[in-house]
Subunit: 338 residues, 2 copies
């Protein structure tokens, strides 16, 4: 990429007033390293050590906490600052000026990395259900810490696995971006769920009848292919009990979710040959309007990237999925994990 | 990709009621060929002939028209049916049933390909301004034909260049998908532009002050980097005169636009080393509410793909752009085309 000429500028969040969405401008991002040989080659390379590995802690941006808290070289999970953050914790946040013309605010926010294992080659699905649960609880803990910052409206937790799903580092990790705005996709989701609630008196996810879309169940969660899946073989994991915020999860449920998530990742990996994927936690804004509570229900999305997207999807927001959800669900149900 | 087990099913359009968007299910799509060696390798391969080349017309789905109309082997442009259509012209369209539960309609619509040159290795930017104008006029003609079908609400014209921008065929072409619904991104754009109009009494694109964001100008168009560009080095080309629909363009303006579009593609290609990109025409629905006419203004978007997107963008609809638009505009302004 051509070098921008003013690399030391602060990040800024601007409103695209034509599409009514926010864009994060972050010159620091163009300097982040990549340990994939080619951005578009999904195979991890032969490298066996990286800054996220145990023993390389000094190569990382500052640590926020580790698990277990009192561990030294034997940590299991580290939550650290992102060295090339999309938003900056050092800026003053001003509320967006609601001008008729162009709208921009400083790029205030928090961008953290959750290192899921001290070992370079260990994937999330290699961990035990309890260990996957620990990763989920580390995310919960960090979300609860960020809650104390009044300007933060929403925290997005996401994982990129494989270069064509966006990953620049192959060592297993997730990221969290805490934003001073509620993102457009989140608002649209809350609005749709409220609409359903108004029409039926029920939460759309509590009311879901998976039938032929069901993949598996655990004590507290169900996994299914959604009726209108955006991506081929997309999976949702939904808590059985109504709950608006992911960070309401307790330790028992986290381990239960850890088991079901591990099972889904193993099935997907076996059936689709370790595809690149994104793992997303869809939760609600911190200070959500209490009237939204009965209609909002958090869930987890696994989005495999089997084909790229093209101009049609970018232009329209409509996606083309070559696989019917009921076929994908049947295939995933039938995958046997030995 | 794993084979779905029911490959002969008809396409279907389903509503994702959680995100309030439409997904096109199209089993036929998984069978389309790709002449790129690896989906993720953006270099065209050494192949010199393909079904889109002159002399291979019989390998293509039926032709709709060619330019010049009376040409035989010496055609310049062919508009043909897509052999692996995302939507099908053979289905009966029923209006979506507005159930509270799941919503689905048959996948009715038209999916066409515009072959932009008879020669395999010729890019859109290799054509003369007048020839690029002819391609634009072929799109206009096809949009006007599709208008006679009452069930069609919107036509999306898009071009994928390079495998990581989605292209499966390297021979220069664009596509058009005519849909029985107005896509969510289009509705959102029309709503935002209406909002601006209500506040100011002006069209947001007529009112644009490009200043340091300007790249170049022609008699009837301006090109600029938008204030809140989604992609690094993104370019918009906007008609100076207010016009809601791309298909209102006349021959003189098409040639003028052809010249400016060619210049932008050459500058981008030179500066960014022939990056993958999407070219998108953002127009208005056919039967648009007449009250929208003063606020809607069509434009053309060039979106280079310099880095992929990751889970954050998919989850939130917020994009991270490492290059400030004013820096990108300066760089593109300064590129000299010899
Ligand atoms: N020593 C160190 N200490 C601390 N942090 C370090 C570090 N070295 C690298 N990092 C950070 O680690 C992160 C690794 O993240 P990922 O591999 O998931 O993808 P990345 O964020 O690069 O971009 C993907 O995800 C984003 C968001 O979805 C997309 O914008 C983008 O296009 C896509 O490639 C990077 O954000 C990087 O800044
Ligand atoms: N002999 C023939 N006759 C007629 N038509 C033929 C043909 N051989 C191939 N085709 C069609 O030609 C088209 C070529 O299109 P592109 O290369 O722009 O990308 P494609 O549509 O495959 O997918 C990209 O664009 C879509 C829409 O954005 C994304 O869904 C997808 O992920 C991305 O890869 C294909 O749609 C194919 O069906």
């Amino acid at each position: 990429m051509a070098e921008a000429e003013t690399p030391n500028r602060s990040p800024e969040i601007r409103k695209d007033k034509i599409h009514n969405r926010w864009i994060l401008f972050s010159p620091a991002r163009s300097r982040r390293p990549s340990d994939f040989k080619a951005k578009s080659n999904p195979q991890p390379n032969n490298q066996t050590e990286c800054p996220f590995c145990a023993g390389h802690e000094h190569e990382c941006a500052p640590e926020i906490f580790r698990v277990p808290a009192d561990s030294t070289n034997d940590w299991k999970i580290r939550v650290i600052q992102n060295l090339y953050p999309a938003v900056s914790r050092e800026l003053d946040f001003q509320n967006p000026v609601s001008l008729v013309g162009d709208v921009a605010v400083s790029g205030f926010g928090f961008h953290d990395v959750v290192i899921e294992s001290p070992v370079h080659s260990v994937n999330l699905s290699d961990l035990s259900p309890a260990q996957v649960g620990e990763v989920l609880l580390a995310c919960k803990k960090r979300i609860e810490q960020l809650r104390s910052c009044d300007s933060i409206k929403y925290v997005q937790v996401f994982k990129n696995h494989g270069a064509s799903a966006g990953a620049s580092m192959s060592h297993s990790h997730s990221q969290m971006i805490a934003l001073p705005i509620v993102p457009p996709t989140v608002s649209a989701r809350l609005d749709s769920m409220m609409e359903y609630y108004k029409q039926t008196g029920k939460c759309s996810l509590c009311d879901i009848q998976p039938n032929e879309l069901l993949i598996a169940e655990s004590a507290h969660f169900i996994s299914l292919v959604p009726f209108a899946a955006t991506f081929a073989f997309e999976i949702w994991i939904i808590p059985r009990d109504h709950s608006s915020h992911f960070h309401e999860i307790d330790s028992e449920k986290a381990v239960d979710l850890g088991g079901l998530l591990k099972l889904m990742l193993l099935k997907m990996s076996l059936q689709l040959n370790n595809p690149p994927f994104n793992l997303l936690i869809h939760s609600s804004p911190y200070q959500d309007d209490p009237s939204n509570a009965p209609s909002t229900h958090w869930f987890l999305q696994i989005a495999p990237h089997l084909s790229g997207v093209g101009g049609f999807e970018i232009a329209t927001g409509c996606y083309i999925n070559p696989v019917f959800p009921e076929d994908a669900a049947k295939i995933l149900r039938d995958v046997r994990i030995s």
